[in-house]
């Protein structure tokens, strides 16, 4: 189920502006890969190219290749909608659909995929909510609005919604930045269990978090304001935080940046 991602010579643009330049990297299946770097370095932008969400923004386009196992996501024959069904995403702010109940939120993706059978829907919803460590907290109020949950619960609901469709890859764009430490802990524990089934890529501003949850870490940086962001270095998390190859990486992780 989990798939490998191979990115080759990827340039990312907003209209004429080049936001990210020349990224080549491999993301291993069943592992957690963290993207770190200063604000505006293009790590979130790059993340959004991995499920073609970048194109949703007017003027957003890319050059280069993103391979999911053997399939090029940017081949003209590939439908971006199909890509997003294989590569799930969790956003910075919890965004459950406010007009839907907890159950319907988790079932939303399944229904988009044409699953109508009530019994199978209920099973998948339960499995996903259990998988997101949320089942025990919501099992008695599945018909209540998802927006009534706490921020941390909402984020786990969004994770349940994303994994319900059984994607190959799960992208997380700063999933804990709007949460309190206890909810953050819950999400981090969850990432630890999810990685046995999924390829997980997480963008984070919190270096301790990257060190805690990830197996591999990629450091992004930009030469100057207005210049495109670049991938500076990617290695085992252990190595990045103890003995990075690049001077810029060392400066950033030791807080001597800028």
């Amino acid at each position: 189920m989990a798939k490998r991602i191979d990115v080759k010579d990827l340039n990312v643009y907003y209209g004429a502006f080049k936001a990210v330049e020349d990224v080549t990297m491999t993301v291993e299946p069943r592992s957690v890969t963290a993207f770190i770097g200063p604000s505006g370095c293009g790590k979130s932008t790059f993340l959004r190219t991995l499920n073609r969400m970048h194109e949703v923004v007017p003027g957003g386009r890319v050059e280069g290749h993103v391979m999911l196992d053997d399939q090029d996501l940017y081949s003209p024959k590939v439908d971006p909608v199909a890509v997003r069904r294989t590569v799930g995403m969790v956003f910075q702010r919890p965004n459950p659909f406010p007009t839907m109940s907890i159950f319907d939120n988790v079932a939303a993706g399944l229904r988009l995929n044409g699953l109508r059978d009530k019994k199978r829907l209920a099973e998948r919803v339960e499995t996903s909510l259990r998988g997101a460590h949320l089942w025990n907290e919501v099992k008695d109020r599945l018909d209540k609005p998802g927006a009534g949950l706490s921020g941390g619960q909402q984020q786990r609901l969004c994770i349940a919604r994303a994994i319900a469709v059984r994607p190959s890859v799960l992208l997380m764009d700063e999933p804990c930045s709007a949460l309190d430490p206890i909810s953050t802990q819950a999400i981090e524990d969850l990432i630890g269990t999810l990685k046995s089934d999924y390829t997980i890529v997480i963008v984070t501003h919190n270096m301790q978090q990257a060190a805690r949850v990830s197996d591999r870490t990629a450091f992004f940086n930009l030469a100057a304001t207005g210049r495109p962001g670049r991938l500076v270095e990617m290695d085992d998390t252990q190595k990045i935080f103890s003995n990075p190859t690049q001077r810029a990486t060392e400066d950033y992780i030791s807080g001597r940046f800028g």
């Binding site: 890509v83 069904r85 995403m89 956003f91 659909f97 406010p98 007009t99």
Partner: protein, 336 residues
């Protein structure tokens, strides 16, 4: 709650949904400016309530004597002979014509207006969206008499074949059965013109709320692998539903009360014409009946008959608004 829905209009305090009138407690500690402004605002609010109540009282006080004098059943009679010794009048025909023409208008205007609003806010490129929205707004500025004349003399002849087709295909149903009315002076055509008149209200209000759908919701749907239409169906439409309902009700309010255009288009029926459910029939709405009857406002009792009809229209619009409120409130738990 996170700030994602902070931009949503439903998150604001809804002035018509009740709530604490003085949440900051400014009344006790208020400075002069606060007190002046607060007083002025309260005065304006009370004035509006007073006006509505007074209109109701006026209508009742004039209508009741005429109703007591009425020899026919006011609600079920189709007669309308006022003046003279014994008045006989009922509103059955007017009620039907008013409701039928307005419902026809809403059946056309709501889907059309929602579609136009979706096109403007979700599909059209920016260079097209702005002029298109402006053009729709311009429709709202056209006076209703212009719509009436344009409808009756320009569009009407082209609409006749449509009616004939409906009559020949669906003539076996009561709604499209044969009538004595010729040409396009029908309830159906009045509804079509009313639809064009309420279209700007429906489009503008729906568009406004569609445009406020938070990006996080839209992206959430897209990231699940929703197509554009599925994204709209799962996020934009549910988010905008209360707005569409209020837009429809405002439009319905205008359609129910529209006078001049309906007066020009509809051909009034002779007194004693047999009852028909056909939309291809003529008739008069409350508003057009009252306007047509203006020359007969001679004695208090005679005028009272028309005022009683006006009272029914007043109550009708009240009921429409109340229903809209209930529908919107019921969905509230899921939109905040």
């Amino acid at each position: 709650m996170s700030g994602t829905t902070g931009a949503a209009p439903t998150a604001r305090r809804d002035p018509f949904g009740g709530g604490p009138s003085d949440p900051q407690g400014t009344r006790k500690t208020g400075r002069l400016g606060d007190r002046l402004f607060g007083g002025a605002a309260r005065g304006a609010g009370l004035l509006v309530i007073a006006i509505v109540v007074l209109v109701g009282v006026f209508l009742l006080s004039r209508a009741v004597p005429a109703l007591l004098d009425n020899r026919a059943n006011f609600l079920t009679s189709t007669e309308w002979s006022v003046g003279g010794e014994s008045q006989r009048f009922g509103i059955a025909t007017m009620l039907w014509v008013t409701v039928a023409s307005s419902v026809v208008a809403m059946v056309i205007a709501v889907p059309l207006g929602v579609s136009v609003a979706l096109f403007i806010t979700q599909y059209a490129p920016t260079w097209l969206a702005r002029p298109a929205a402006g053009l729709v707004q311009l429709l709202a500025a056209v006076p209703s008499i212009v719509f009436g004349i344009w409808g009756a003399y320009v569009v009407g002849p082209y609409f006749e074949p449509v009616q004939n087709l409906l009559n020949s295909v669906l003539g076996w149903t009561p709604l499209f059965s044969d009538t004595t009315v010729s040409g396009s002076s029908t309830i159906l055509f009045a509804g079509v013109v009313l639809a064009i008149m309420v279209l700007p209200i429906v489009t503008a209000m729906s568009g406004e709320i569609f445009a406020q759908t938070p990006t996080t919701h839209r992206e959430g749907a897209l990231a699940l692998g929703a197509t554009k239409w599925e994204m709209i169906r799962t996020t934009v439409l549910p988010f905008g539903k209360p707005g569409v309902i209020s837009a429809a009700m405002l439009g319905l309010g205008r359609a129910l009360g529209e006078t001049v255009a309906v007066m020009i288009i509809l051909s009034a029926l002779a007194d004693g014409t047999a009852w028909s459910w056909s939309l291809l029939n003529g008739g008069e709405t409350f508003a057009s009946k009252i306007a047509n009857g203006a020359p007969e406002f001679t004695t208090p009792l005679q005028t009272g008959a028309y005022i009683a009809a006006g009272l029914v229209l007043f109550v009708l619009t009240f009921v429409v608004n109340a229903i809209a409120r209930v529908v919107i409130n019921r969905r509230k738990a899921f939109t905040e």
